[in-house]
């Protein structure tokens, strides 16, 4: 495996745009994905959520739900929806380079 940083456009993604390999992720990639989903600038609050969600996935193997985000990321649910319109858990996961949350079956 190569250690050089691949350009975002060359990274493997699934049909919905989620990175296939979380280890491909870095902050520059996060910014590119964010622009792709319509978030022009990632503020400190965005980063707080993105880093929380990624950290949680890497330690537990599953992405936290919106409920957990609201309780534990120190960003309230209302603000989560302002930061990541429509689907905070899904969008933050995508920007954080982890798979789509399994909440929906």
């Amino acid at each position: 495996m190569t250690t050089t940083t691949l350009a975002y456009k060359d990274l493997e993604r699934d049909a919905e745009g989620f990175l296939k390999r979380p280890e491909d992720w870095n902050e520059a990639v996060a910014e590119e994905i964010a622009r792709e989903v319509g978030i022009e600038t990632l503020t400190e609050r965005h980063w707080q959520v993105v880093k929380f969600i990624r950290e949680r996935f890497l330690t537990t193997g599953s992405a936290p739900s919106i409920r957990t985000l609201g309780k534990e990321s120190s960003v309230p649910v209302k603000e989560l929806y302002q930061l990541f319109p429509k689907g905070p858990a899904k969008l933050a996961a995508r920007i954080g380079g982890i798979p789509k949350p399994k909440g929906c079956i």
Binding site: A15, S65, I66, R67, T68, K71, V77, K78, L80, Y81, Q82, P85, K86, G87, K102, G103, C104, I105
Partner: protein
């Protein structure tokens, strides 16, 4: 002596108790094995029947039976509220009853709706113009409301996933279209289906089929709508991002959580109270002698009775292996099988698992093939016949007319979207045929 303790006497717990009793019948007679089931109340509700109660198709009393009568003789039944599981002591503490010790514990306490989790949902208008139909009380209260409804905006809403039987809310919308057509007032009723998902369902081929049906039945679809609050007085459903859907009658599917004792039992469950469970063996992540089945688990399968039925075959084998000191069988593939009632005496059938989404085609069945992902009258008859099947075959833990636990690819058409439908891990020829 080996003590098997099952928490919950719903679909999964009852099937499990009856299967294990059949497996260990002789050992139970000689008192080498005991099987005990705990539940907090006496009434077993046939939950698929709740969908039909609001439309007057079933009366509430037609879908309940005493829990005790559904368990094999030889299975002990304890009616008590569970306080918590003390995994390190292999003991379950109960309210107002002495604690129960176990060698193997099976958690089958299902999931429950928690309308209080959404601001305003149980406030003004609750059970007057805001109803649920996932509880016997809610479904019963909704029947006279629908019967006296003369027109207006009917909104059907899923607050958040996961929910039991993810297709039931859509079925409700389809039946509402049929019901108001029958009553001759369909033109005076608007029906809107509001979901947090990005489509009518979670799996692509199924979403396409269901979206088509919604359009055909003039049911509006609002997606990616996550309700933050409800104002019953004003008739407003408001999302976290401040979009508003107005209603005259709201039929809501409130948030679901696992049983209340699970958060009181350290390490057993996740933040929603669902048991942390291995998706293939159904063993808990907490301790090897704890297993979970049905809606109570956190496995990424539908919360549906058919899933509990298929899981039971694998779990029975794994309880046996655990007690015999053998390695567990990672045999559960996430198999689910659901009829989707579409109104006008028709229904769809879907069959899927962890890897394979619902596909079109034909489902091989004893009385002849059933259409997959396509409306038919035979599927509707299958859905109605299922109530008999439930009481007389499913709960006793019998195999269902030759439907194996592991999903079969027979009859399914893969041509629509091959990329989204990878082959099952084991080829169909090596399937274990249902015993």
């Amino acid at each position: 002596m080996k003590r098997i303790l099952i928490l919950g006497a719903g679909t999964a717990g009852t099937i499990m108790a009856n299967r294990l009793h059949r497996l260990y019948r002789r050992n139970v007679k000689t008192a080498d094995v005991t099987i005990t089931v705990v539940d907090q109340d006496q009434q077993h509700v046939y939950q698929p029947g709740l969908l039909f109660v609001p439309f007057g198709i079933y009366r509430p009393e037609e879908i309940v039976k005493p829990r005790r009568n559904l368990l094999s003789k030889g299975v002990n039944y304890v009616s008590a509220v569970i306080d918590h599981v003390a995994a390190e002591e292999n003991r379950v503490y109960l309210e107002g009853h002495e604690p129960l010790d176990y060698d193997v514990l099976v958690v089958a306490t299902g999931s429950r709706v928690v309308p209080e989790e959404t601001e305003g949902l149980t406030g003004p208008g609750w059970r007057e113009k805001i109803f649920d139909f996932y509880t016997p009380e809610g479904a019963a209260a909704l029947a006279p409301k629908l019967a006296s409804f003369t027109g207006g905006r009917l909104v059907i809403n899923i607050v958040e996933m996961p929910i039991k039987c993810p297709v039931a809310p859509l079925e409700f919308a389809f039946l509402a279209d049929w019901y108001f057509t029958q009553r001759g007032i369909r033109d005076r009723v608007s029906i809107t289906f509001v979901t947090p998902l990005d489509g009518a369902f979670t799996k692509p081929a199924c979403t396409r089929a269901l979206t088509h049906l919604l359009t055909e039945k003039r049911i509006d679809l609002v997606t990616e709508f996550n309700p933050g609050s409800v104002d019953g007085a004003a008739g407003e459903l408001r999302s976290w991002d401040d979009r508003v859907v107005n209603f005259d009658l709201l039929v809501t599917i409130p948030p679901h959580m696992g049983a209340a004792f699970i958060p009181r039992s350290p390490g057993l469950g996740d933040e929603m109270g669902f048991v942390l469970t291995d998706p293939a063996t159904l063993q808990s992540e907490l301790k090897p002698n704890i297993f979970a089945i049905g809606d109570a688990t956190n496995v990424p399968a539908s919360k549906a009775g058919s899933v509990a039925h298929f899981e039971a075959e694998v779990l029975q084998e794994n309880v046996r292996r655990y007690l015999a000191g053998e390695p567990l069988d990672p045999g559960f593939d996430g198999h689910a099988n659901c009829f989707i009632e579409t109104g006008h005496h028709k229904a769809l059938l879907i069959d899927f698992n962890y890897q394979v989404e619902p596909l079109p085609g034909k489902f091989p069945f004893t009385v002849g093939p059933l259409s997959l992902l396509k409306e038919s009258r035979l599927n509707h008859l299958g859905k109605l016949a299922f109530r008999w099947v439930y009481w007389h075959l499913l709960l006793p833990g019998r195999d269902l007319l030759g439907i194996p636990a592991r999903m079969s690819m027979r009859g399914k058409r893969l041509t629509l979207n091959p990329a989204a439908a990878p082959q099952p891990e084991r080829p169909p020829t090596t399937e274990t045929v249902a015993r």
